[in-house]
């Protein structure tokens, strides 16, 4: 008995390799962050950035640039990327569908429509409540997609339902913007997924939801690991599958709704990152979550850097860059996995 237990322990040895991976990714995120901070209308060298971060001197103009404007943008992209990637992992897990993504399934566009409608029709409502509307829109879009496709594991039907829902909500958004043309001018940047320095204020509105959802999703790890073996096995192991799916969906709605309220609909991060993470760590959800958080942050920082570098002095919206990166990955996945 003792021997077998000891053997069991030996099999579950300390996960050195995976931890090294996490550390390396963390390092990559830090390097990318420094790169992100150094770029801009005025390029600033890395020692100055370090000084600005650890020993802030308000009289130094370089320090002021870093701390006042660029740092905010960096934080927003870190949080947005991590949240979207986590939403993608959960979504692909609960729908057992490798092609699920909050953007493709219309959840982002539902949230975007509700945010646009509330800013146009209810201007007296304080902006802190925008995330609530985003959650509402995300939830309604998710419900419609489920209604159209069912819980069944049919990738194609789910994606098509998402396309139909996206078309519906983006048409309604377009109608609103045609009726109110000043609104179009104001909102057209936000609608393609823009990250800007001013978004840090918006991030303050959604902090509690985002942090709560991230922490809570780690509580689901064991059930998700069981569910990965199939819903029957999971039920046999004592997992309430329906409850798991509902909780997972709520988490996805909170994560992606919060992101839409902050930065507009940014697609494909939730699709691409889980697949990269799975290439690295297979299917243990605790590691998948960790890797996805880091990789999502990394991907969004790099996309944001690209968004500012490609067409200097103009900026492309980050959502457009992620679509250009993500759509080819999606097609490659389809060609490899679907017969």
């Amino acid at each position: 008995m003792m021997q077998s237990q000891r053997k069991h322990h030996a099999e579950r040895r300390f996960p050195t390799l995976k931890l090294t991976g996490v550390v390396l990714l963390l390092l990559a995120v830090v390097v990318a962050s420094f790169w992100h901070l150094s770029l801009g209308a005025k390029s600033i060298d890395w020692t100055t950035i370090w000084q600005a971060l650890v020993a802030y001197d308000p009289t130094n103009s370089d320090h002021a640039i870093i701390r006042e404007s660029r740092q905010a943008r960096l934080i927003v992209s870190l949080v947005v990327g991590a949240a979207l990637a986590l939403a993608g992992v959960i979504m692909q897990a609960i729908s057992t569908n490798p092609l699920a993504d909050p953007g493709l399934l219309g959840i982002n566009s539902g949230a975007a429509f509700f945010v646009v409608a509330s800013t146009l029709f209810l201007p007296m409502i304080a902006p802190q409540y925008l995330p609530i509307f985003a959650f509402l829109g995300a939830a309604i879009a998710a419900l419609i997609v489920i209604l159209l496709s069912g819980w069944e594991q049919n990738a194609e039907r789910l994606v098509l339902a998402g396309v139909a829902v996206t078309a519906m909500f983006s048409a309604m958004t377009a109608i609103l913007l045609l009726i109110d043309q000043q609104g179009l001018d104001k909102l057209r940047h936000w609608l393609t997924g823009a990250i800007g320095a001013s978004d840090l204020d918006k991030l303050h509105w959604v902090y509690p939801y985002l942090l709560g959802a991230m922490v809570f999703s780690f509580l689901l790890v064991r059930s998700l690991n069981a569910f990965h073996l199939g819903s029957r096995v999971a039920e046999g192991l004592g997992v309430n599958v329906l409850l798991l799916k509902i909780t997972g969906l709520t988490l996805v709605i909170m994560l992606s709704g919060a992101v839409v309220a902050v930065a507009g609909p940014i697609g494909f991060v939730g699709l691409v990152v889980p697949h990269i993470a799975r290439l690295l760590v297979r299917n243990n959800y605790i590691w998948l979550f960790l890797y996805a958080l880091l990789l999502g942050a990394l991907l969004l920082i790099v996309s944001d850097i690209a968004a500012r570098m490609v067409l200097r002095p103009y900026e492309i919206n980050t959502g457009i860059i992620t679509a250009f990166v993500g759509a080819p990955v999606f097609i490659a996945l389809v060609l490899r996995k679907m017969k």
Binding site: A167, T192, G267, M338, K339
Partner: protein, 353 residues
Amino acid sequence: MNKSRFSSRFLRIKPFPGTCFHVRYSDMFWCVFFSALLLCMLLWGAATGSYQFSFVKSWHIIFSPESQPDRLVRVIWEFRLPRLFAGALCGAALAIAGVILQSITRNALASPGLIGVEAGASVTMLIFVVIIPGTISVQWLPVSAMLGGFIVAACIWSLASYSGYSPIRLILVGVGITSMLSACSEMLITYGDIELVESALMWLGGSLHQVAWLQVEVMLMWLVVAGGLAWVCFRPLNLLVLGDKVAFSRGVNNRKIVPLLLLLSVALTSSSVATAGTLTFVGLIAPHIARRFCADRHGALIPLSALIGGCLVVLGDTLGRTVFAPLQLPAGLVLVLVGAPYFIILMSRLRHS
């Protein structure tokens, strides 16, 4: 003998020696019914607007214009009728394209927008309107949009059939390419000059306000040629719905017929996109409404859904013109608003049964 022919509820039509079509009386009834409905919609559309007529008056103006005041005749014949006809024709073309795609992919949620024609046309159009305005004249814009649509559809087809064609690949590759292209057009919308962007957005929303008789004639030609060819293919379509293997065993070579049908639906979609912008939601719902009346028999389904598609677009356009009166909403957007709830209910009910 006479009695038995009636009780079988078929009409046997023998257009050529050796061929025999069975036409059900119910199909004939629904075709007549929806033609009448389309006619009523057209009359209603001609009668309403900022200059209101009675139904009878518009009837008189359309069918005996000589006896009516010149001014009224011009309002109807030069402004309203081309727009209405173009709407009806585009709706019919998109509905047929939708039937073809839903049958080929055997998926009720497929729409003509999937094969990328819409997205390709939008991007080409935006490039010519927003980035390099004035390089080509206005009447060539639809042609360039059409070319763009064709190129994108060809890309999607070659990618999807690169390592073995299958319906699911076609759908998903279409979704991928379409979302990439829509990112392109979003980029153009975001960075373009706001005035140019607004006029492009009007067009993209599926608006019929700049249509003249010439476009109606071109559209009619496309519809008759491509739609007629699609109607001739109703037997292969009937068999393809049953699955590739069944179709193959019944003598339908899906390697040959599927690209042909896709080409037809691309031609139908792109011609209507060139005339009226993006209206593709019609292609999604019109076939479903038609299926309520004649199920999956494509011989009846194609003409019926064409009629229903025409009705829908005329309805959407007239509502868009009149509901927010001085402001004109694009027909495509109105249709999505009206059709989406119906579509959702319909699909969820279909899934449960």
